[in-house]
């Protein structure tokens, strides 16, 4: 039986982790994630989980310890944000290269300099090439659901990869919203017992983790790692199917909203997608066929499916809450690549919004949809990459 609660995104993720009851958890504070691991630490202190915590002295050590623990053979979690994720960067590659299914909620926050503690996607986007699976979440409910599903995806015997569950800092992590919790036992049954794969603590079969591989085989190892990523999509969909049976909540590799017959569309991640949906409804009421695509699985990126979903649209704006200075926004780059093979492509533009927690308002969505509407009629894109909600 589902339980309806009003909790923050951080609390929801912490609760998901409690329900899963992992073996080991690396804990280090960073705004806006802090509150999540703090809650988890109190679950440990109150004996609500069997987890052993490692109260590390940095995020780098947190990820290092998580890698050691996961290689040892067991279920491992941690969480971070922003500079913490950046400090982990080196170790993120090692976690995925060693094929260790560590589960990590990432409470998205801007990167320094200047110092900023608010929500944007620069942190996780900076980690997009680290070989981690990335699931993105619009709200606390999705963050909770994704966290639970992440275990099944990452620990799948064909996959064995670490998973980041991304949620917007403050906007979701610190907002109380209505959501539904599954029962503890339901979650435990859904996730299942941890299955070992090449555990280091198998003392009778000594293994060496982390060899030096030179020009002879490194290329092959990385090719093999890519191959694993190609299998992720199907696993994500299978897990989502099972999750729907359990929760009634449907997940795909992305969500579309009124996109099927849309002339114009916005592609946008996380919490801003919700705000955009409300504005799309307003435009539909005015007779403008607007729609939305919200990626859930960003790594691996489902290129073919995204192209298929957008191919009939006349004009698409990809909105990035992160920048690649001197390049297009990271989400834009993926969507543009996805659309490139199409013979008839939508017109495409890129807007960077909401950096460092700048509010994304309905008026911003309206501005973009209005521009898209004009483009769909004129067939002309004036400025391909632009910043919105920025003061001149």
């Amino acid at each position: 039986m589902a339980k309806v609660v009003a909790v923050t995104g951080n609390e929801a993720c912490a609760n998901a982790l409690r329900q899963v009851n992992p073996d080991v958890c690396g804990i280090y504070p960073i705004t806006p994630q802090t509150d999540m691991m703090q809650r988890f630490a109190s679950y440990i202190a109150d004996g609500k989980v069997d987890t052993e915590s490692i109260l590390v002295e940095s995020e780098h050590s947190s990820m290092s310890a998580c890698i050691g623990a996961a290689a040892a053979g067991g279920r491992v979690v941690t969480a971070t944000s922003s500079q913490g994720l950046a400090l982990m960067w080196e170790m993120l590659h090692i976690a995925s290269g060693d094929r260790l299914p560590i589960i990590m909620p990432v409470v998205n926050r801007a990167l320094s300099a200047p110092l900023n503690i608010h929500g944007d996607h620069s942190d996780a986007m900076g980690a997009r090439d680290t070989g981690w699976i990335q699931l993105w979440s619009e709200n606390g409910q999705e963050a909770y659901d994704n966290t639970i599903q992440a275990f099944r995806i990452g620990e799948h015997m064909e996959i064995r990869l670490p998973v980041m569950v991304c949620l917007d800092g403050f906007i979701i992590s610190h907002s109380i919203e209505r959501m539904e919790y599954l029962e503890d036992q339901e979650v435990r049954d859904f996730v299942g017992p941890f299955k070992n794969f090449l555990p280091l603590l198998d003392l009778d079969k000594p293994k060496s983790y982390g060899p030096l591989i030179l020009t002879d085989l490194y290329h092959e190892y990385k090719r093999a790692q890519h191959e694993v990523m190609t299998k992720v999509k199907d696993v994500v969909l299978d897990v989502a199917k099972d999750f729907e049976k359990l929760s009634g909540r449907k997940y795909g590799i992305f969500e579309t909203y009124r996109l099927e017959d849309a002339d114009i569309a916005i592609v946008i991640l996380n919490s801003a997608a919700g705000t955009t949906k409300d504005v799309i409804d307003e435009f539909r009421d005015k007779g403008i066929k607007a729609g939305l695509l919200k990626p859930r699985l960003f790594r691996p990126f489902p290129f073919e499916e995204v192209a298929e979903a957008l191919k009939h649209v006349k004009a698409v704006c990809v909105m990035d809450r992160a920048d690649s200075f001197g390049g297009y926004g990271p989400l834009f780059m993926e969507v543009a690549s996805a659309l490139y093979p199409l013979e008839r492509k939508p017109l495409l533009l890129n807007k960077v919004y909401g950096l460092g927690g700048r509010d994304y308002l309905p008026s911003h969505a309206a501005q973009v949809l209005t521009e898209l509407h004009d483009i769909s009629r004129s067939g002309k894109v004036n400025v391909l990459k632009e910043y919105i909600g920025v003061r001149e």
Partner: protein, 191 residues
């Protein structure tokens, strides 16, 4: 109830404003409603002006941005009336709930409130001091907001206050807050 009720809280760090918004959200959860409660965050600490928001709706809340056009504006610290524009974005029929010793008519004049805008006052700080000896006006303000919005019954709210405060405080403080919430509900003055 309107499809969505949006509330903006103005307070100062350390007055329990964010807690009030959270308790209200939790209390409004009943009846299958959707709720949001979220503060505005900055590096500000105790004493700095802050805002918090509520949305309560009968359908799923997807909007994830600050409340720009509040149905209710709640001011937990009357001194803020002189320093910030608490009426920003207010609609024709917005209700103002103000913690003040002053008469609602005086406040109405000060705010230059329109004819359909409601102005409600409550001496929340005094109630808090009476009930539990601390100048924490959040629980009487909750009572006042409950009365003005009619979102939930006072009994339901009191249950939630008991639940929320019970996690952190002693029985004496909980009882004080229950009493204060009740008095906040009862002692609102409209003008």
């Amino acid at each position: 109830m309107a499809e969505t009720v949006e509330i903006r809280w103005h307070g100062r760090g350390g007055q329990g404003t964010v807690t009030a918004a959270k308790v209200l959200a939790d209390a409004c959860l009943s009846g299958g409603r959707y709720v949001q409660a979220f503060p505005e965050y900055g590096p500000e600490r105790a004493g700095a002006p802050l805002r918090a928001y509520n949305r309560v709706a009968s359908k799923e809340l997807r909007m994830h941005c600050p409340v720009l056009e509040p149905d209710v504006v709640t001011v937990v610290d009357a001194t803020l009336l002189d320093s910030i524009n608490i009426a920003e974005g207010a609609k024709d029929n917005t209700a103002f709930v103000i913690n003040t010793t002053k008469d609602p008519k005086e406040i109405r004049a000060k705010l230059k409130a329109g004819p359909k805008q409601r102005v409600v006052t409550v001496d929340a700080t005094k109630i808090a001091l009476d009930c539990f000896g601390r100048a924490m006006p959040n629980s009487p303000m909750l009572g006042a907001v409950c009365k003005v919005t009619g979102l939930i019954s006072i009994d339901h709210l009191l249950d939630d206050v008991r639940k929320s405060f019970g996690k952190k405080f002693s029985q004496k403080i909980i009882d004080g807050n229950i009493e204060a919430t009740k008095r906040g509900y009862e002692e609102v003055k409209e003008g």
